[in-house]
Every structure is written in C-alpha cells, then in structure tokens.
Symmetry: C2
Subunit: 212 residues, 2 copies
C-alpha cells in the first residue's frame, strides 16, 4: 500500500475492523436501535469491548459511559471518515468470470460504489453485456478516462496483462487500484494500490493444517 | 481466525509475506539461481532486507552471511512449513460466477490445491459443468464428505445461505473454511475459518481517497 495521503490518524490496520463495525451498526440502526454499548457491538462482530473502544476512540465524542454510542451519529461519522458518504465511480478491467462476479457483487453498490464501465481486450467479449452494460474495448480506456472521473480501477485481467493496465490507468489519473490478478504489481507515488491475492488466503489455511 | 493448532512459532501476520517470498523464490529457482541475498529478494518483492531476514529467521540455517540463502533448500522448507508439500483437496460450495471464477483460478492448482467437487442448491445448475466436472447437488454434501477426505471448503453461496453450509461442512469434519459470502460467519473450535470480504478492500481504498 502506498497511500497518497497518510496524514489521517486512523491506522490502516484498523480499517477492516471499522468496516465491519459500520456494517453491523447500519444493521442495528435499521432495526431502530438508538444507542449501542461497546459490549453489544463487540458481541455482534466477535471481538471484545476494549478493542471496540480503542478503535472508536479515533472518532471521539459519541460514547456516553453506561449508555453507549449514539448509533446514528457513529454511522454518519464512520461513513464520512471512511469516505463512504460520497459516490465512488469504479471501472473493472477484465470481463472474465471474476470481473463479472465482482460487477454483480451486491456489497459494492450498498457502500456507494458505482460501476461506471467494464473493459476487455477480447473482441469476442467487447460489446457483450456482463450485467453492467456493454463491455468496452480496452482501446477506449484513455478516451473514457479523460471524459469520466473514475476513483477506483479493479484489475481482473490475466497476470501477464495486469502491470501494463495499471500503468495506463495510473497515467490517466485514476487514484486507486485494486488488483486481483495473481501478480505482484507496482504503482507510482500518488496511486493507492491494494492487492487481493486469493492463493495467499488458501496458503494461510494450509499453514493451520500443516500439522496433519 | 480460530486456529486449531496455534503452537507454531510463525506468526499469522507473516504468512502473506512468506507466501509472497515463496512465489518469488520458486520463480528465481526456475531461472536457475542457486543462492539469493536478502537484498535481492527484498527488491523483488518490494520490501527491505531487514524484514526478509526477520521473517526468514523462523526457518533458520539457510542463510550464509555475504552469500545469501540456498534457494532450493529455502523453497523446500517454506513449502513444508506452510503445508504446501502435500495435496490439499478443496470443495467449492456455490457454483455462481465467483465460485466458477475460483474453480478456474490457476494459482490454486500451482500451490497443490486440487478441486474435488463443486456444489450448488439450484437444480438448474446441478449437473452442469463449470470447468471442474459436473456440479453436485448440495443434498449430496454429507455423502460426499463421508466418502472423500476434504481439507478446505470454499464458500461462495449467497450471504443468507453461508452460515448453514459452514455448519454442515464443519459437522462433517472439514477442518478449514474460506468464506467469500458477504456475511460474518462463525465456526466452532477445531475449524480454521478465514473471511475474504471484498467490500472491505474497497472501503480501505475509499479511506485513502477520503480527503478529496
């Protein structure tokens, strides 16, 4: 990860937990719960109250001792600080099975991520509808990016194509890249790059089975 | 994560890095490199030599000062300690787009993970071939698991079906679960459960864009 602006006080390690708290708090808010204790939130997400209080201390001022957190205010502030209070336009490059699965993934839309376009290099795929409108040709990438603001590019190309595509979206000013291609890609300064490596997850599980 | 056997000295946080070193070392070994310095490995994976030496200190005895690590021995020991020196049989439950994408993902086979079967609840999907042989009915899950040893179950069902399916594979003795369904699932003691939450990755990127 090379964050373009690491000035914020929230450590990156806390982000997956904060995202999880947010989803649970939104659910509790929908159910009409006006305040929530750190104990209740901890039980709901499978952690302990001390961890909750520590993580939420970055947001300060929403908890009242013996009462709990104001659910609505905490949801609002979490969404603002995580950048989820505005629409994020996303493109997916690589309209294969994984790209299509991501295009159809309901969790994205729920958090304000809007799919602006999908791209592919295969002429047999270009023009087809993978559930998010017609797939554009990769040749149109730069034209599209100069006409539309895009916040995040998701890369689901084959491994050998990923780095070139990342270089192209970075050169066109896309500030964040999520790479699913099974290759360690790099991005220049000013571009936030995250790598999702599916085989690493299986290797981690394999490690816990290694004593068999 | 609730590791069934946390006795090993390698900390879980080091596993994604070790998996990355392994992939790079295997590549260097294929290219005929007999020894590799911590500097060279660090440059290749985008970290610093001190981190490499610290992570590889769990494996001890493969480095020679001024010469480097014996590539072949280090690859062998990493594979053994990560449990990658034996075949791991995997099932995928949920033969939708994500499940199919994972079934076809080349990185799995390369690390010794073998897909034993796919399952789905939809009668229109059962019997079709998603690239890994005919999809079995979820009704056959317990029979299959009593006849075949399975090490890891990958869950790509809709959110609302995930917990029940995890309970079923755990009851049938599958020791590890990788859950892609967008829901926080739980598993009893003795079952290693990892959660891959795709929207958390986007939220992390969104956070770095939050200053826009």
């Amino acid at each position: 990860m090379n964050p373009p602006k690491p000035s914020d006080a929230i450590p990156e390690a806390a982000l997956p937990r904060l995202a999880r708290y947010l989803r649970k708090l939104e659910q509790l808010e929908e159910e009409g719960l006006e305040t929530v204790s750190s104990r209740r939130l901890a039980d709901a997400v499978g952690t302990n109250p001390a961890q909750i209080r520590k993580d939420l201390s970055y947001f300060g001022g929403f908890g009242t001792r013996g009462v709990g957190y104001d659910t609505h205010l905490l949801v609002k502030e979490l969404r603002r600080r995580l950048g989820l209070d505005r629409e994020r336009r996303v493109i997916i490059i690589g309209a294969g099975k994984l790209g299509t699965a991501l295009a159809l993934y309901r969790g994205f839309a729920k958090q304000g991520f809007r799919l602006a376009a999908m791209f592919d290099a295969d002429p047999r795929v270009v023009g087809s509808d993978r559930g998010a409108g017609p797939v554009l040709s990769i040749d149109e990438l730069e034209d599209f990016l100069s006409a539309h603001e895009v916040h995040i590019a998701i890369i689901t190309t084959p491994a050998e194509a990923a780095q070139e595509v990342i270089d192209r979206v970075a050169a066109a000013g896309v500030p964040a890249v999520l790479n699913f291609a099974p290759v360690r890609a790099v991005a220049g300064p000013g571009v936030a790059l995250r790598q999702v490596d599916l085989s690493t997850e299986l290797i981690t599980l394999s490690f816990y089975l290694a004593g068999d």
